[in-house]
């Protein structure tokens, strides 16, 4: 954990102060990388823990896709500015995830139903994005495509403030419920018999992680695969019982590193995603 924090600080100091005259322009991006990375890392880890599956992250289940669909529509067809687009994207992400949650809860909750409904909605959202892209002008495409992958170039202070507040609340809740999350990992029945209110815990943390994803999306776009990769990496690397904060820090570290490449940050996270996915699939083969 110490090494992670030191790494994040070093990377960002390097990014902001070399060369030093760029500081005012690069500071929002650096802070954005830390906050968004943490938000995606935490949300991804929470999703993977709550659904008990390393593949079930917000981007696979269509939450991020909902955000980008709304953003692309706003940019291409309604001509909204970046600020308003961010808020609409956030709202759309929240409502999509609310819908997934509601649909999977209607006849009794089950993890698998929720995962499958998420996959169905993800496919539909992607189809919607495809329509939007097909009907768009060529010169608008670049803006829209950036929204599909994620980029920190548009990070601004008001959005970061909101995200920061959400993160503080999330941290508070996680510290309070840290032990309970550990218990939850033992399985529903065992946790319940140990006196844990499984349903309450699940609801609280789904809402928290959905808010994290939604607001982070509104700052920097869906940031391909980031929420998916953090969990498996820290679980593998640290061999710790419940590496939830480390997952958040890992996200921040990856995004800070991604700041250095000349392309939008989402490209790098997307490229890291594929090998991690292969690794997770390989692991699952052993375990299941």
């Amino acid at each position: 954990m110490k090494r992670l924090i030191v790494g994040i600080i070093c990377l960002n100091v390097l990014y902001c102060w070399v060369p030093s005259y760029l500081l005012p322009f690069r500071l929002p991006q650096a802070i954005g990388a830390i906050l968004c990375g943490m938000a995606f890392g935490l949300a991804g880890y929470l999703f993977q823990t709550l659904l008990d599956n390393p593949l079930a992250s917000p981007d696979v289940l269509g939450v991020s896709a909902g955000c980008s669909l709304a953003a692309v529509i706003c940019l291409l067809f309604l001509g909204f500015g970046p600020m308003l687009t961010g808020w609409v994207a956030c709202l759309a992400g929240l409502s999509v995830s609310g819908l997934i949650f509601w649909l999977s809860n209607r006849h009794g909750y089950s993890k698998l139903t929720m995962i499958l409904i998420g996959i169905g909605s993800q496919a539909m959202m992607s189809a919607g994005i495809s329509i939007a892209l097909l009907k768009a002008n060529t010169y608008q495409l670049k803006d829209a495509l950036r929204w599909l992958n994620g980029s920190l170039n548009e990070a601004d202070w008001p959005g970061l403030m909101v995200l920061g507040m959400i993160l503080v609340i999330a941290f508070g809740l996680i510290i309070v419920f840290y032990e309970s999350i550990g218990l939850y990992k033992l399985g529903d029945e065992l946790a319940q018999s140990l006196g844990l209110d499984v349903k309450k815990l699940r609801t609280v943390f789904f809402v928290v992680s959905l808010c994290l994803v939604g607001f982070a999306c509104s700052v920097c776009g869906p940031m391909a695969s980031l929420s998916f990769i953090c969990g498996p990496i820290v679980t593998r690397w640290l061999k710790k019982e419940n590496p939830i904060f480390e997952a958040g820090l890992m996200g921040a570290l990856i995004l800070s590193a991604a700041n250095f490449n000349p392309f939008p940050a989402g490209i790098l996270t997307g490229l890291i995603g594929a090998p991690v996915l292969l690794y997770v699939l390989y692991q699952m083969k052993g375990n299941l």
Binding site: N53, L55, A56, D59, V60, L103, H107, L112, T113, I115, L116, I117, I119, G120, S121, Q122, A123, M124, S126, A127, G128, I129, S130, I131, L133, L134, A136, T138, L141, K142, L145, R146, L148, N149, A224, S225, F228, F263, P264, G266, I267, T269, G270, L271, G273, A274, L277, L278, V280, L281, M284, K285, L288
Partner: protein, 310 residues
């Protein structure tokens, strides 16, 4: 059951007819008759121009259905489907990669699409054994999401690729022409023959791997050849019309109600898929030239959720 089968055959004829008739300039009944009798007028030429598109749907639908039937039998998984498992996405990725590197000819495209389907097919085969149905679908979804983000990332690097990329995201049969279809026909035929040869073995494999083995089915050989057939079918269809999603899922689901044996099921599934694809194409045309892949996904998504609930 006979009534249902009759409805399927009838709907296929209706869809073929409608797909030739409807469009920006719809033909009348008498003009259709004139077209069938071989007269040449202005309107019959318009109908003739729609012919490749109809033929494309008539080829693509059955190919996807046949692939789906095989995947489902192999993995004992009623939710398995080429697009849900990311096989289409693999083809798309390599085709876009090819655009980026300058391999743009039709042959290049087919080779790349087949290679992409092959890679993902192998990955799926490696993990399919140990996965429950839901987890296999989840793995496929994760694969498609990862591949899609890589494709999007690649396309940001050049304006030309970006422009092409959006058409590669969705399946479309609008730009169909006879050359493309002729080009992939050999691959499709090989896939079809392989599928037909493997059908009896697959049918026994459905009862469980051990039972099938004791009946003398070579499990490894069956799976390898079936997967080869799936790769040929899906890869070549993706090469000419892009990824078409969810189609096989509903066709196979409905076909299961029409017949118990796998060989018959696959015939019904092929007919159903053809008429579904034609129907979606017609719906897309009426909604202002929406691509057929988008229509199948928008209709297929809710249907998929409904399937899960049961």
């Amino acid at each position: 059951m006979n009534l249902k089968r009759g409805v399927v055959i009838l709907s296929l004829f209706c869809m073929v007819w409608l797909s030739l008739q409807m469009g920006v300039r719809s033909a009348s009944f008498s003009q259709m008759i004139a077209f069938i009798q071989g007269h040449t007028t202005y309107m019959t030429q318009i109908i003739g121009a729609r012919l490749p598109r109809t033929l494309m749907a008539f080829v693509a639908g059955p190919a996807i259905a046949l692939a789906t039937i095989q995947i489902q039998a192999m993995s004992h998984n009623p939710l398995a489907e080429p697009s849900l498992l990311g096989i289409n996405a693999g083809s798309s990725l390599l085709v876009v990669l090819g655009l980026l590197l300058g391999f743009q000819g039709p042959i290049d495209r087919i080779v790349l699409a087949l290679a992409g389907a092959l890679i993902i097919g192998v990955v799926i085969m490696l993990i399919a054994d140990s996965q429950t149905p839901v987890l296999l679908v989840l793995a496929g979804a994760a694969i498609s999401v990862a591949l899609r983000s890589i494709v999007a990332a690649l396309s940001l690097t050049s304006q030309y690729v970006m422009d092409q990329f959006r058409f590669w995201q969705v399946g479309a049969i609008v730009k169909a022409n006879f050359q493309d279809i002729a080009l992939v026909t050999p691959f499709l035929l090989v896939g079809l023959v392989l599928a037909m040869l493997m059908m009896p073995a697959l049918d026994q494999l459905r009862m469980g791997d051990e039972l099938a083995q004791s009946l003398g089915v070579n499990r490894v050989k069956t799976r390898l050849l079936s997967m080869a057939s799936v790769v040929l079918l899906v890869g070549s269809i993706t090469a000419i019309c892009g990824p078409i999603t969810f189609l096989g899922l509903w066709a196979c689901h409905l076909a299961k109600r029409l017949s118990p044996s796998l060989a018959q099921q696959s015939i019904w599934a092929m007919m159903l898929a053809a008429s579904f694809l034609l129907g979606c194409d017609i719906v897309g045309r009426l909604l202002g030239e929406l691509e057929v892949g988008v229509v199948t996904a928008l209709i297929g998504g809710p249907l998929f959720m409904w399937l899960i609930r049961r």
